[in-house]
Assembly symmetry: C2
Homo-oligomer: 158 residues x 2
Amino acid sequence: MSESRLLGEREARAWCTYNKMREHLAAVLNQRLQRDSGLSEADYVILAALAEAPEGRLRALELRCQIGWEKSRLSHQVARMQQRGLVRKHLCPTDARSAEIEITPEGRAAIEAAAPTHIAAAREYFLDLLSPEQLDVLAEIGDIVLGHLARHTRPSSR
Amino acid sequence: MSESRLLGEREARAWCTYNKMREHLAAVLNQRLQRDSGLSEADYVILAALAEAPEGRLRALELRCQIGWEKSRLSHQVARMQQRGLVRKHLCPTDARSAEIEITPEGRAAIEAAAPTHIAAAREYFLDLLSPEQLDVLAEIGDIVLGHLARHTRPSSR
DNA sequence: TCGATATGGTTGATGAGTCAACCATATCTG
DNA sequence: CAGATATGGTTGACTCATCAACCATATCGA
């Protein structure tokens, strides 16, 4: 990669393996989730958030903030999920512009069936392979990077 | 997240921040690459690989192995890139089934213009924020996970 | 109170990734 | 050598993600 010439030895190595890991790991986990439960990562994230909200419903804006998604992304995804009966949309009484998203019983069943195996896969391919120290460093890295992003990019105005 | 109940404190934290970091970081880097250079990550990966191949060309299979892509993914991507004049396809003399992909002068110009700013962004949002020790641990983690994936999934038969 | 602007969300177009089915050529085996 | 099988690649259908344009309602300020 042209990385090699523009980065130091150490940086190049970290960057390269990070990228490969990220891509391969996501591919495998997505694949298994889809195969085992018929859900995509996107479905999973939304259902997980709704499932533990009180009443199983959230205003779209609140949901977007929790999962950090762009608004059109959520809109499209919810439309597809509503089509499949995983989720329902309601008008919001306090703000006529807003929408409330509610998980359906089918949606709840789907996420409850999916979660254990999905988490197990995350363990199998990732978490169980790492030492406590490695897990801590990873979390540390995540916090640093997320903190920097929060400070140096627009809130999610996108 | 339902993660919280199925994972220990430490695992949940690592898993959660890793996922958030992964998503946000990729979004920002993609966005900047697109804005600054008119290339997607996918374009970038392919052009980078071709640019440092001898003669600027590789057999499709060789390219796939280097970047670890599924075959239809490469096929689609190359088709789009050929459309834009970044890349050209040739028949392979030694194996009539195979195709050779060659970077065009436009493609070379594009990657050479894109690389420095892309790497700079990777530094700015990621590499420069981390200590040498953190970079090493990250690379270590990557190797462990990739090694496990290599041993426990089909080579890429997908 | 009214007009400008901001905000929450939708829509359509397009690029990207995956899967399954497929086609052609190579290779292997009897 | 012939037929079966394996391999390299393409295609079409579909889901996802992003962008820009848009619509309706809220809110702000003169």
